[in-house]
């Protein structure tokens, strides 16, 4: 039952990251929410904070300024207003 999550992190002008992950933690407006496979469908507003993605290749972190996250059928879409990555 080790389902992988399909993750897409999108900003207004590009896809920031997309791939599979085992766990995603997002800064919801009501506190951090961690999502594993088969989480119940959720649509939540994000506040400024860090989105942490644990994938096979390691951990990825993205600083977002706000946005929202939707989860359904093991697909996570994080829609960020703006994303700051490590490279920037």
């Amino acid at each position: 039952m080790a389902d992988a999550l399909t993750v897409d992190i999108v900003a207004p002008d590009r896809i920031v990251w997309s791939g599979t992950a085992s766990r995603v933690i997002a800064p919801s407006i009501e506190g951090e929410i961690g999502m594993l496979a088969n989480h119940e469908p959720i649509l939540s507003i994000l506040k400024a904070g860090t989105v942490k993605v644990t994938s096979e290749s390691g951990r990825e972190e993205f600083a977002v300024t706000g946005g929202f996250v939707s989860f359904d059928h093991n697909t996570i879409t994080i829609v960020a207003d703006a994303v700051v990555t490590d490279e920037d």
Binding site: P12, D13, P41, S44
Partner: protein, 297 residues
């Protein structure tokens, strides 16, 4: 006769330098268009995600949000017209403006008042010249729009939509822009932004039953946060489409201009040659008749 030749040569020279300018502009447009198209594609996932989320909220909750319901207290309609900043793009801006005028006439026929917003210098100039007041104008980046501008525009339109009637509140938002279907075909389009038609997006996600979402903090708050973003992303998408269309139109217009310049150069070269020939013929006949006259005397 020598004067005639000089005039033709001058015209040829000036047309040649114009041709170089046209060619350069064609190449610039051609090199930018790829980037503009990439930006259209890059922005698609974002607006797709937002549209999906909105339709999810709308189908799974009974929220009656002011942005989704028709306003009956105002008969004003805000129209955002997206044109180019510069000319040199054939009928690009003219087509958009014509479409906007046609729609305005229709709206006036239904007893509505049109409140124009213009994006792009050509549109601003068009309305200013006709002494029509603009509710908002943005210029300077029609061929490479940024999300910040889209935000600004969205903000202005959103404010107009939520404002009370006395402060010029509008009941509808429409956008006139040029849709980029392919390199050879772009047509002006009108879309209604607000009030929202929430049906779109639901049908196309033809997967199994739409999941029952949990909303955090609540459906209404989620919708409140989503709708401004939705408007921003729609406006941004329209601006990007318009930018790609503008560049495609400019490339085509400049291509035509180059071949017209070549035609003119060919024509004038022919005229200059025949003028030169006529001059030589005349000189010969002058010499011959001069020699004849001397021989006869």
């Amino acid at each position: 006769m020598g004067g005639q030749q000089r005039v033709y040569r001058q015209r040829i020279r000036s047309t040649q330098s114009l041709k170089k300018i046209f060619r350069a502009m064609e190449l610039i447009a051609a090199s930018r268009i790829g980037k503009a198209r990439d930006r259209v594609t890059a922005a698609a996932p974002y607006s797709h995600a937002i549209t999906r989320a909105i339709s999810a909220v709308a189908t799974h909750s009974k929220v009656d949000h002011p942005l989704t319901s028709e306003r009956t207290d105002s008969d004003r309609v805000a129209v955002l017209v997206i044109t180019a900043d510069r000319g040199m793009a054939g009928a690009y801006s003219a087509n958009v403006l014509r479409e906007a005028e046609r729609m305005s006439e229709r709206l006036k026929g239904r007893g509505k008042t049109v409140v124009p917003f213009a994006l792009g210098r050509r549109g601003v100039g068009y309305f200013k010249f006709r002494k029509r007041e603009l509710a908002g104008e943005w210029t300077g980046e029609s061929d490479s729009p940024t999300f910040d501008t889209a935000k600004e525009v969205a903000n202005a339109l959103y404010t107009a939509f939520t404002a009370p009637v006395e402060d010029g509140g509008v009941s509808e938002l429409r956008i006139v822009y040029t849709h980029f279907s392919s390199m050879v075909s772009q047509e002006p389009r009108v879309i209604r932004l607000l009030p929202l038609e929430v049906v779109e997006g639901v049908a196309e996600s033809g997967e199994d039953v739409e999941p029952l979402y949990e909303f955090e903090p609540g459906a209404e708050e989620v919708l409140d946060a989503l709708l401004p973003r939705y408007i921003e992303s729609r406006i941004h998408a329209c601006m990007l489409q318009a930018a790609a269309s503008e560049l495609a139109n400019r490339q085509r217009a400049m291509n035509t201009a180059v071949s017209n310049a070549e035609d003119i150069i060919r024509q004038y070269t022919r005229l200059a040659n025949s003028a030169r020939q006529a001059e030589i013929t005349q000189e010969i006949s002058e010499i011959v008749s001069g020699a004849d006259a001397l021989a006869a005397s």
